[in-house]
Symmetry: C2
Subunit: 306 residues, 2 copies
């Protein structure tokens, strides 16, 4: 299968937009017309897991339909499905199948990580098989031997990885800003490890990017600029736009001057756009579509595009 | 429900042994008499997920039966179940139910972590409900706001947490030994964050231990001694004994002088004990039981007990 980085860059060019819609479905935030259970009452957290999972799946399938011609990729966040057990995981797989059938790339946000022998099991769980995603997010806290099984599975399957380097949350600083005697922070150190792990020739695609990418939040734009220099061969998955507070200009810091090298994700600000004040909820799917279009336009403008 | 730390300490005293058996079931390592599929051929990785999950479940149920009167707790490693999708997760839940019915505490090794809104979903997935474990392992890379939803769910449900501080793998040093200008390492810094996160009065049990514990590997005993000082109120979950190379003396460093404060885990060296050269595989369950007994005795001797 074609190298993940080449496939993602090609998909971004085809859609004319380096953005990704995050699928973080919450039962309590579904549109009213979707959240009615068989009996007519709105769904809630204590519901039967199979019923809840079916509603999440319907919502994500509709969101995919609404945004499929606008964005090159979606990012299902697996915790939202895992909380409904086996039924939730079936919904997660059905959502991925639907996205792929709609011509979208799928980045599964699973953030798994462990010692090597266990990481091999996670790689088998989340990268293998015809229903697997195109790429996953992984944790780097275990170092190289914990990442190797993911790298090998991704290389063999044509998949990509995004290693957590700088996360988007306020407390990221608690741990990730830990600094050595030379002024280097932990996130810079992690970035160097990621760059080194991903530099082997067999991991680099035709366009010069490695299958080993990095998660670099837009909520810390100065740092994204620095990380862009440390990791020239890494594709960045950029969270933090919208609900988490970063704007399009902040996201632009993750890109190279040629406009490549990153894909910006927005989840809640797009998929729950219909919950804005004054929005008529009956048009919820149109509101999601419009929010995806506005998001894509916002990023394109910040990158100096059309 | 009674505080997790008090329940664990009580269970350790009742069994007279601060050890835990890790359930990391691998299809390709099952005993021959368990690994036969319906047709008689040995099970293998490409098998039907439901069939594979059923075999893993049978194996774990037998292991639980073999060790239930020797150890106070088991630690199912969820990746081994996740790789078989919904069927695997059903097996994971059935294994936890079986362990609890046998009077064992369950520490689910899930190592989840994310930004707060997503961590709340993981907490709902892995801590809530009657079939949930007594405690889980979590990642600390996101800092305090990523851990808070886990802490709140654990407090409300009588559960415990073990935050990754020092992992047992060789590459742990790559990331966790990153050192500041004063000579403090990242794992020490993480330990300070964990100690601070867990010190609120409402999180401390009757015996003085917090529900927020730490993963501290036995493969780095000097460091375990240091971490014992930084985290006086933390229970340590100690991996690394046996297959990963640490001995009982190395594990002893994680305990306080009074012999409390830690629980040592062994997975592969116990559950695959029947695969040792010269072992008659027909007696596989007796071999597992004997290995658990030897493990418990080894740790007790290192702690100066009987």
């Amino acid at each position: 299968m074609e190298h993940f980085a080449d496939r993602l860059l090609e998909a971004i060019e085809r859609k004319g937009s380096p953005v990704c819609v995050g699928l973080d479905p919450l039962l309590e935030r579904l549109p009213v017309d979707l959240s009615r259970r068989a009996g007519g009452a709105p769904a809630q957290a204590g519901d039967d897991p199979a019923e809840a999972a079916a509603l999440l799946e319907r919502f994500c399938v509709e969101v995919i339909d609404a945004v499929a011609d606008i964005v090159p990729a979606v990012k299902p966040q697996v915790a939202h499905f895992e909380r409904y057990g086996g039924a939730g995981m079936s919904a997660y797989h059905q959502v991925m199948r639907t996205a792929k059938q709609a011509g979208l790339l799928v980045i599964a946000d699973v953030k798994r990580g462990d010692i090597g022998s266990t990481a091999a099991q996670y790689a088998a769980a989340y990268l293998k098989g015809p229903d697997g995603p195109d790429a996953i997010t992984v944790s780097g806290y275990f170092g190289a031997d914990g990442l190797s099984p993911f790298v090998e599975a991704a290389r063999d399957g044509g998949n990509g990885l995004f290693v957590l380097v700088r996360t988007s949350n306020p407390s990221a600083r608690d741990v990730q800003d830990f600094t050595d005697a030379e002024g280097k922070t932990l996130f810079q150190h992690t970035a160097q490890c990621v760059a080194s792990l991903g530099e082997a020739g067999e991991l680099i695609g035709a366009r010069g990017y490695s299958l080993v990418g990095a998660v670099v939040a837009a909520t810390y734009p100065q740092e994204a600029r620095l990380l862009r220099e440390i990791m020239p061969q890494q594709l960045f998955l950029v969270p933090g736009y919208g609900a988490q507070g970063a704007g399009a200009e902040d996201c632009a810091a993750a890109f190279k001057p040629d406009g490549t090298g990153a894909i910006v994700n927005a989840s809640r600000s797009v998929i729950y756009a219909f919950r804005r004040p004054g929005q008529v909820e009956a048009d919820w799917k149109a509101a999601v579509r419009e929010a995806a279009r506005a998001f894509a336009g916002d990023i394109a403008r910040a990158l100096g595009g059309t």
